[in-house]
Symmetry: C2
Subunit: 140 residues, 2 copies
């Protein structure tokens, strides 16, 4: 299956938006991400809907941060992007009442649920300013 790289891409974009302090066009972002401006707009639109970025049309327009990085977590962006689940593993649902199928699915789901909770918790602990490396004029 093709992986969903939108989280990685959008985090990358948000930190750059923060550092440049001016509007960036979808064309510029597309060059940076080695993709297409329409793909950029489509994905950025999900962040705009949640209030993390703003878009301005026309001359001098483009994308800017709408909130400071320290107020945004990985979890915020993850939730803005993904609707489905985190795992490639799925459970069968044969619509019967086989107790074995139920036991199997429960065993798998228990583990995946625990793992998903861990991921969400960890994502919630990371604010985006922690990713803004090499920005200070005098890096440590």
């Amino acid at each position: 299956m093709r992986k969903d790289s939108r989280l990685s891409r959008m985090l990358h974009v948000l930190v750059h938006l923060h550092q440049l302090q001016k509007a960036i066009t979808s064309d510029q972002l597309a060059l940076m991400l080695h993709t297409n401006p329409v793909v950029v707009r489509r994905t950025m639109a999900l962040l705009r809907e949640q209030g993390y970025v703003s878009a301005v049309k026309g001359h001098g327009g483009g994308w800017t941060l709408a909130k400071p990085l320290h107020s945004i977590t990985l979890l915020d962006i993850h939730r803005s992007l993904s609707e489905g689940t985190l795992f490639t593993i799925g459970l069968t649902d044969e619509h019967n009442h086989c107790p074995i199928e139920k036991a199997v699915n429960l065993a798998i789901d228990d583990v995946l649920q625990e793992a998903e909770n861990l991921v969400l918790q960890r994502f919630g602990e990371v604010t985006l300013d922690k990713l803004a490396v090499g920005y200070s004029p005098k890096p440590v």
Copy 2:
């Protein structure tokens, strides 16, 4: 994305193989799983290669367990089936040296790695006999 339900399906099959104590054909399994005998053979072949089941051709043939359930873990079956990763989330690799991209990917990968380790550990703790519910003639 379509989920990979092979783990769920195969665990279901293995427990039934244990309980029936005789060979089951791919056609019978396909009926049980609401699928196709070729799909069954294709997936069961991965378990056969790892020595968890045996297949016999011809009259009276079919699939049987090659090891007792208590000697097989969810992890064993998971590893027999999956080659790729567990998550739908992927990292970008734009082949540049952008420190932001690296920091972003590291942050995501740290979390996913921790979660994957958790899943593998939990899967390794569950032997398949624990899934064989409702089998005893006198269930508790």
